[in-house]
Each structure stands twice: as C-alpha cells, then as structure tokens.
C-alpha cells in the first residue's frame, strides 16, 4: 500500500499527475521485490503508447488548432449565435448539441474534448462565459462521443467479452441523447446562478442566411468526416487525419489565412498537448502492471461483492466500484482488468449481456471526467490552461445528472434494451 500512499501525498503536494502516477508505480515495483522488477518500466511506457487508435488524439487536437487559426471556428460560433444566441446560455447549448453531431463522427471522448476545448471554449470565453464553466460544459458533453456510436470502448468491450458490438452500438444511442437533454436542462437551471450571457436581440432572417452561407465551408467539415467514415474511405482513427487535411485545404486554398510559421506553431503546440496527455497514459502502464501483478483489482472486486447477491445491490456495487476505480485509473486498463471479474457476476444476477455492457461503458465514460485521473479533464485542462480542480467543481451538477442517468438505465432494463430489442440484438 506504499504505492497508494505515495500517490496521494504526491498529488496533494502538487506533483504533476502523470509523474505522480509514475513514481507511485515505481514505489509499487520496489515494494514488490526490491530492484528485481524495476526493468519493466520503459517497456510499459513504450507499449502503453504503442496503440494505433491513440492517433485520433493528436490529429483532432491539430485539426482544432488549424480550425482556430484560420477562422473556421469563429464562423461556426457566429452561426450558433444567430441561431440560439438569443437564449440564455446559447453557446453552452450549442456545445451540447454539437457534441451529439460530433458523436456520430468520433468514437472517443478525448477527441471531442480536444476539438471543442480548442474551438468552442475560447469562443464561449470571448462571449463572456467563465472559462471553468465552459470547460465543464465541454467535458460533460464529451462523453456523448463514445456513448453514441461509433464508440471505441464498445468495440473493445464487445470483442473482449464476446458481446454483439452492433447491439452495444444500438444500446448507446438512447442514453447518449438523454445525456444531451439532461445536461441542457442543467444548463437552463444553472443559467441565472452562473449568469450565462445571451444576445441582446434575435438575429434577422437575412443575418441568419448570410452567416449560414459564410460558414458553409465549416459546416461541410463534419459531413466530409462522416462521409469519409461511412463511405469506407477512412477508419474512425484515420478520420481525424481527414479533418486535418480538410482544415489545411481550407486554410491554404479557400481562406488563404494559413501561414507557414503559424502552422509550425500549431504542430509544436499539438505535440506538447499530446505529450502532457500521453505521459499520464505511459506511466499508468507501470502502475497498472504492478496492480495486476498484485491482483489488486480482483481483490477489491471480491471483497466488495461478498456484501450482497441482490440484483439491484450487485448492479449498484458494480457501478460504485467502476466509478471509484475510475477516479484513479485509465478506463481501458479498468475494462481489461475488471470486466472479466465483474461480468460473470452480472450473469449470475440475470443481466442481459448487452445491458451489462452498456452499464460498463456508461460508467467508464463518466470516469473520463472524474478527478483526479480523468482523460477528458486532462485534455481540457491542457488545451485551455484552466485548472483541473476548477473544472471539476463546475462539473459537479453535470456529473450528478449523468450518474443519475447511468443508474436509471442500469435499473430499468426495458429502457436500456429498447433499441437493441427493436433491432433484434436482444430478447
């Protein structure tokens, strides 16, 4: 338990989170067997990053950088303003809605957080939103990305546990839309307290039209990405590279605002942001290896689950466990380590495999934005410069709302399996 103690102390005293995870892992290795296991470190770092789908992160960050730099973002924001700007918190609502559209393009929450953190957050700040609030809205919306298909996590879950991936995709649509609606309600309720801005007057039809025309090139972007994926040109990971290609094309040939020097800066900044995120994933590999070797996740699971065998109690305990471990561990690692331990228990209490799957996926997606270890928080914090704890505080109401949604879908089987049953994936 020295590793746990080291982690808590280092985090409290301001050690960057990635480094704290790395040091805790090294403490764990030494605790395990002196110097015997220390040689594993570099290999875990390298192999933890040696995963092709991770490419989506730097590419969507870069696409966001270019979109900002050449002015695509501004045009989109202007359009959102003339459409919903007259309502209080119009851009916050736009952010949520945009997450739903974006969800059809990407399977990853971090890609969503990176793209919107670079584009919509600055736009919201310019409009008068507090930066921490803008980040919180973006984080809350980002998990719609891997909830509505395509979803990288569902693919991993499906192939790991032998559950129909198409069935999981179908099961994700409804919760994804509900998350959007409920978060928009949270924005409305908090609108006065947060003093969210709104435009003084509504736009005229003529203004709407001219703004629409001037943002056509920007609006085409998601269509091109989606077309690229659905048309079989690119994989979901490669789609991020199409986003980059399109942004470069617009910047060089249409707007003619992309300059070589600025492009250089964009590449450097993208790499730095990626480095900040990847150092956490890399060092989490060492800590994860130590935890697996000492069978810590299984130990926790066995102890907690010896408490009850009631269906609802078991579901609640599993969710609690996932959210708890999700606070300090990378979600892919959790999935790989805990799913084989916990899923058999869901079978024992009679849960449909797809239902169990969607509970796992939702709980892990929510863990992406719970501190101290939450990939979406890291991405937002590093792309916007906002402090992690300030985002976390503003995120609280959204987090409570999303956890409630998770429990509703976990306890109410008919709702969770509505679409999978309709499409013939579940009984």
């Amino acid at each position: 338990m020295w590793a746990g103690l080291a982690f808590v102390l280092l985090i409290l005293f301001g050690m960057p989170i990635g480094f704290a995870i790395g040091l805790a892992g090294v403490v764990g290795l030494i605790d395990m067997g002196g110097t015997q296991f220390l040689s594993i470190g570099p290999s875990k770092i390298f192999n933890g990053l040696n995963i092709f789908p991770f490419l989506a992160m730097p590419f969507f960050i870069l696409a966001g950088e270019i979109m900002n730099g050449i002015g695509i973002t501004n045009r989109l924001v202007k359009l959102a303003q003339v459409l919903v700007g007259r309502f209080r918190g119009g851009l916050a609502h736009t952010n949520m809605l945009a997450s739903v559209f974006f969800a059809g393009l990407t399977g990853s929450a971090t890609a969503d957080a990176a793209a919107f953190g670079r584009t919509l957050v600055p736009a919201m700040v310019k409009e008068g939103y507090k930066r921490d609030y803008a980040c919180a809205v973006t984080a809350a919306g980002s998990i719609i990305g891997p909830t509505i298909p395509p979803s990288g996590l569902m693919v991993v879950y499906g192939s790991l546990m032998g559950v129909s991936i198409a069935g999981l995709f179908a099961a994700g649509i409804l919760p994804g839309l509900v998350i959007c609606l409920v978060c928009m309600t949270v924005i409305v309720i908090g609108g006065n307290r947060e003093n969210l801005p709104k435009a003084a007057r509504g736009a005229t039809l003529k203004e709407v039209w001219s703004t629409f025309v001037s943002s056509l090139t920007a609006l085409a972007m998601p269509i091109i990405i989606l077309g690229g994926i659905l048309g079989g040109v690119v994989t979901p990971t490669e789609a991020a590279s199409i986003a980059v290609a399109y942004a470069v094309f617009i910047g060089v040939f249409v707007y003619r605002t992309l300059k070589l020097k600025a492009f250089y800066q964009m590449l450097v900044r993208t790499a730095r942001i990626t480095g900040v995120i990847f150092v956490i994933i890399a060092f989490a590999g060492i800590l994860g290896w130590w935890m697996s070797f000492e069978r810590i996740p299984q130990l926790i699971a066995e102890n907690v689950l010896s408490l009850s065998d009631n269906r609802y109690a078991v579901i609640a305990i599993i969710i609690g466990l996932l959210l708890l471990v999700g606070m300090v561990m990378d979600i892919t690692a959790i999935l790989i380590i805990l799913a084989p331990v916990l899923v058999p228990l869901t079978e024992q209490v009679g849960l449909e495999p797809i239902h169990a799957g969607i509970i796992f996926v939702l709980a892990l997606n929510i863990s992406l934005m719970t501190p101290p270890v939450g990939a979406c928080l890291f991405v937002l914090s590093s792309v916007t410069g906002e402090k992690l704890e300030r985002i976390s505080i503003k995120l609280m109401p959204f987090l409570i709302a999303e956890i409630s949604i998770l429990f509703i879908f976990a306890f109410w089987e008919d709702a969770a399996l509505l679409l999978p049953r309709f499409l013939g994936f579940a009984n």
Binding site: Q36, F37, S39, I40, S43, K44, N47, I51, F52, P53, G107, P150, G152, V155, V156, G158, S159, L160, G162, V163, S164, I165, A166, I229, L230, G231, G232, V233, V234, T235, P236, T237, W289, S292, F293, I336, I337, P340
Partner: protein
C-alpha cells in the same frame, strides 16, 4: 527447488471459453497436484500484464515464468517462426498434431531455445484451428474469386505475400479498427481462425466465409530457462507431462468450439459458408507456395530455409498418414 510460475497469456480467463486458458488451467492443476504444491502456478490472463509480445520479454527477463505466445508476437524475437506460415500445407487438424508433436516440433523447439538462449519450449498448443477468409463482396469458391478483394492482414510480410499471391489486395490495419473497417467498407475482408471470427462478431459485418484452411498458427508455450533449470528432475518431468496435457486440452477445446454455436455452427446461421474442393485447394497452393518460398529465401536466413524443408517433409508425411492405419 520448487517455486511459483507466474503464467501470462492474452486470452479470456475461462477454461471453457478459449484454448489458451483451458491449456493453462490443465497445466496449473497437474503441476500443483503432481509436485505436491512445491511448484505453484498463478495464471494472469486477459492481457493483464501486457501484450503477447511483452509477455515473451517478461519471461526472458524472469519477471514472469511462463507464457503462451502467438507466432505473430514471437516473430520479432525469432523471425524464423515465419516458416510456419507456409500456406495450404496441412490436409487436416490431425496432421498439425503429428507435425508439432513430432520431429519438426522438436527441431523448432530446439531452434527457438538456441536462438533466444533464455527460454525452454514446452509445446505448441492450438490457438483455435485453421484460418478462414471472410468478405463482404462475394462467395469465394475458387482462386479467381480473390481478384480485387481488399483483405486486412496483420503487419506480417508473409501474410501479405500470401494474400497477394491469391490475387487479392492486402492491407495491414490495427486490430482495434478491423470491425468498423469491415462495417464501413474501408476493407472488404479479413482472415482469422473460426473462433476469433465468431468471437469478434464479424458475422455482423461480413456476408461470406470461406473455409480456406490456408494457415495454421499454434501458440508457443515457453518457460524461463533459469527457473526451469532450478527445478528438480522430478519436478521437470511433472512439468513436461502437464504441458503435454495442456496441449491436448487446447486441441480438444478448439475442435469443440469450432463445432459449437460459438464456432462454425453458429456462423453458418449468420453467413454464407463455402468449403473448398481439393482441386481449388491445390490451385491455391500452387499459386501461393512459390511466392511464400521466395519470401523466405529473400528475407530469412539459411537456417530458416532448412527448417522450411524439414517442415514440408514432415507435413507431407503427416498428410499421407491415416488414423489408426
């Protein structure tokens, strides 16, 4: 003497779900019982300790003691394992048993041990049987049908060579993107053993399955040499006997899974399944084997060519034998 074998593999931890864990479960039980607990076995499945290739390094470094590794994962440490990719070699599963338990298996094990220096090979368990090809375009019943089909392969030059020799196109794609790649049509098809095709739900996104049986790719069961040499003669004998049963269990479960709902029987409900006739298999062998041998001559060393010659001879012998005859 004695000690604990930490045994890592990259499959699900249910002995009735996959051959790897069936194998480790049998091994673990027989070793612990047979040594009266002086040798203990702890199994870490589901990639908990890393990828298959990382497991090999961890065994070599003595961080863990044993692993089952795929030929793809072993290739970077031991390139000559590539000779096993000789396409359309085996006439049936029983021939694979004879070849890997016989003179070729021994020669391969000895060569792996000599090349790596720090491991002992205990056997070649079944991964789930022969490779089949699935695609979304058309039923593939003969060589000409491969024309223009874009097939996903691992990043393994020999697999690309084989697919190209069949007249299809070969594109390496990361495993995590294969399902969505097949779904949207980034690629038309892929190749894998039947249980993996079933388990990865490819029947949801692929219409046609052809039982090409063109590749057989066993696990290599390896154990850390220093640990092995630290055991008593009696304990080593128990380990070898347990390993043999582990291999047998993997084969039995592979055949059962193939013929269950989780294998071919299940896939036949969801896909159009085509078996090849002998003439077509021969045509495909004639198209691919020279290309494969060219690949081996060009990219691997003299020792690999020798190993391939032995492999071909042993396979021919095994193919000609008849059960109980």
């Amino acid at each position: 003497a004695g000690g604990t074998i930490k045994f890592g593999h990259d499959n699900k931890t249910d002995p009735f779900e996959n051959p790897a864990h069936a194998c480790t479960a049998v091994f673990s039980n027989l070793v612990q019982a047979g040594t009266n607990g002086s040798v203990n076995v702890e199994v870490f499945g589901s990639n908990q300790l890393g990828s298959a290739a990382e497991h090999v390094q961890q065994v070599r470094d003595g961080l863990i003691q044993a692993t089952l590794t795929s030929t793809g994962a072993l290739a970077s440490y031991y390139p000559r394992i590539d000779v096993l990719n000789l396409p359309f070699a085996f006439a049936g599963n029983e021939a694979t048993y004879k070849v890997f338990d016989g003179d070729f298996g021994k020669a391969l094990a000895a060569d792996i041990e000599a090349s790596l220096g720090d491991v002992v090979v205990l056997g070649f368990p079944d991964t789930g049987g022969f490779f089949a090809v699935t695609n979304s375009q058309k039923p593939i019943a003969n060589l000409e049908d491969f024309e223009g089909i874009r097939i996903r392969t691992m990043t393994l030059p020999s697999h690309q060579t084989i697919i190209q020799a069949l007249g299809a196109e070969a594109y390496p794609l990361s495993w995590g993107e294969v399902y969505s790649g097949l779904q949207t049509g980034v690629i038309d098809g892929q190749m894998n053993p039947v249980p993996i095709i079933s388990f990865a739900n490819f029947s949801e996104v692929q219409k046609y399955l052809t039982l090409t049986n063109h590749l057989f790719s066993p696990y290599t069961f390896m154990i850390n040499r220093a640990f092995y040499e630290g055991l008593s003669d009696e304990e080593r004998a128990t380990l070898h006997a347990a390993a043999e049963n582990c291999v047998t269990a993997s084969r039995g479960l592979s055949r059962i899974i193939e013929s269950s709902e989780r294998g071919l029987a299940g896939l036949m409900d969801a896909m159009e399944v085509t078996a090849l006739d002998d003439a077509q298999r021969e045509a495909m062998a004639a198209a691919t084997q020279p290309a494969f041998e060219g690949h081996v001559n060009e990219n691997l060393d003299e020792k690999a060519v020798e190993l391939l010659t032995l492999f071909k001879a042993e396979v021919a012998k095994a193919n000609a034998e008849t059960y109980l005859d």
